[in-house]
Assembly symmetry: C2
Homo-oligomer: 432 residues x 2
Amino acid sequence: MTTTRLPELSPETVASAARRVMARCDELARVTADDGAITRVHLSPEHARVNRLAAEWMREAGMTPRQDAAGNQLGLLPADDPDAPVLMLGSHLDTVIDAGRFDGILGVLMAIEVVRLLRRVDDEGRSRSPFPFGLEVAAFSDEEGTRFGKALLGSSAMAGTWDDAWWDLADADGTTLREAYREFGLDPGRIGEAARRPEQLVGYLEAHIEQGPELDRRGEALAVVSSIASARRFQLLVEGEARHAGGTPYDMRRDALLGASEAALAVERICRGEHHIIGTVGQLEAFPGAVNVVPGEARFSLDLRGEFDADRDRVWRAISLELDDIMGRRGLRWRAREVHSAPAVFCAPLLQDVVREGIRHSVGAAAEPATLFSPAGHDGMALGAVAPVGMLFLRNPDGISHHPDESVSAPDVALGIRALAEAVAHVGAEPR
Amino acid sequence: MTTTRLPELSPETVASAARRVMARCDELARVTADDGAITRVHLSPEHARVNRLAAEWMREAGMTPRQDAAGNQLGLLPADDPDAPVLMLGSHLDTVIDAGRFDGILGVLMAIEVVRLLRRVDDEGRSRSPFPFGLEVAAFSDEEGTRFGKALLGSSAMAGTWDDAWWDLADADGTTLREAYREFGLDPGRIGEAARRPEQLVGYLEAHIEQGPELDRRGEALAVVSSIASARRFQLLVEGEARHAGGTPYDMRRDALLGASEAALAVERICRGEHHIIGTVGQLEAFPGAVNVVPGEARFSLDLRGEFDADRDRVWRAISLELDDIMGRRGLRWRAREVHSAPAVFCAPLLQDVVREGIRHSVGAAAEPATLFSPAGHDGMALGAVAPVGMLFLRNPDGISHHPDESVSAPDVALGIRALAEAVAHVGAEPR
């Protein structure tokens, strides 16, 4: 690490940036499909509205905004050389159902503030990157996968790893991704235009709330991220026989819901016995779903994450064997459809170093900043295919996320903005 | 038992009646809200259509049809004395979701055939009951409780046990029972007009498929019913905390779905250890229901039936204690709302006797006809409040009911029609 070219940032400037971020998190929280809750899914009218707000804020921070072919909202602060690559900063603006107001959103708004703090105004009054590379803020259009089941649609398009099979994914109303693209005003045939090539990207840096309790337990504000979990998602189907709830003795029942219930408990039991493996059944439904009918069918989801792909895959095999046993005993059939798979992404050593330096400068602690593994998925999982990835975590009180009580403090956001700005400056100071 | 006044029924006449019943079961199966499945709920357009069909068939069999204040379709074959009480015959025309074509429907259509076989045409060409009481066929409007969760709405109105609290029950779309009544063209303020007084009813006789495997296992066509199960239905709510599926370690989770899964398995375990007690969780759903969110809430139904009220209530207390334990261990809260409760209804000894005589005459077996307890609920549970109740069960291959594969054979239906007609004639022969 050498000296950075970062202008001195006064505490007042950074605190004011943090206040703006907090106020804008509140403003975005009002853009929702559900009264009294935050729900904002891919290619919805709410998606269009937050893109317009983000574009306005990007422009006001000196960037040139545009929406790409995947509905990602981008803002560019160019280098002097228009052909120079960019360092991408960002996160996503879509949410889960009944979400908190910081997951993803915070990273986008912090990135906008970092660009505002770092930009240089040239002799002709134009905002420029002070580095030999441009700075670009990305507000990804889909990270959660709430609407179509498949996560990371926005960042996958940018990474050039789009799979045309996704066009036929349908939402709960039966609208396909292809149709939703058109309704949103996007042309599915142009999805390739969203893709970046490795030589166009210096790297991707993202700030995000931890979505876990570790920093809160340690009493620290910020952490370097070492890697992003390996994840697989499945939709499972259990088939038995729908029968009358009164007249069918237990020995004649093939109750799909009881099979699914045992399966959900088996996932918990198996994963609890592992280190850094976590499995969650977030959806479960019984069919036909009548109070007086033995369920003939049950569907449930499985979200399986691990620090290492091999451990995750070994656990999935163990779960599969257990399901064979449960369903066999109960006279049920089962099958799983994999709807998402992403290998673990390891943060680039250089970007881990600059984030660590940024935290040191910001927090000023003598102690080594915490380094955490992220069980939660992030856009960097997709971007890792095309750029080195680095991440900064912010303390998330009690680790509550994907919930209205999700929170982050303004002082931590100020520390995070300074750390992220320092990290960017460190990238700028690296020999290229 | 004395001699009956039943006219000799030729095998051809009865077989032809059975064929008509089977054809009409097929015809009613086509009146459904779901293409490719049979779903016909209370106060729906399909309900109106089957009432019109039943009215036409009642008229054609000599009855005077009318729809009562609860949407029940009735057909009266009066006695010579217009003030004479009636023997009610019937069942229901509503269905569960993705139902079979015989549950309830068969009993209504068999009752119409029995009236056709027994009616006397007087000197003025009018159809009359040959007995000192009228015969009335009831096609009840709601037995299953599919739409509003509360079962037996049609027969409860006739029994005069209507509870005004039911008006606020809402269906899945939020339509209340009160609103649905008005949309159907019924006046909620006139519900009392559907009620009968005990002195107006000689009794209630119903034929129904067994909805269980017992007759099929024994190789017998028909059975006398001794009693109808005591039943309670609950909607249960489990509350935990919705959290991010990746970032929340197991020791911080309060996963409502896992609590509900354990509960469903506990119901099975506890009820299997009992005699003539059966508990079913037919509905279960997790909220917010996202693949990557630990469920903060789960809702499920419990249907609990037993031959005796006291056993059923003791088992509910045992389940409640088990739920306290499960939810306590998992840091969850739970509560139950009782949505239906009906005491066991014992069939009247006289009506058991006439049904047994009817079976003997019809099947001609030397052996004593089977006598079965019905774990499934029936309209007689409500009618029991105002009339003696009797029931005849028909063999239900493999016991499959509440399912498209539900079946009954035409020869068994012919045996059943003859047995039911004989049973009615035996009532007519009793000293009054």
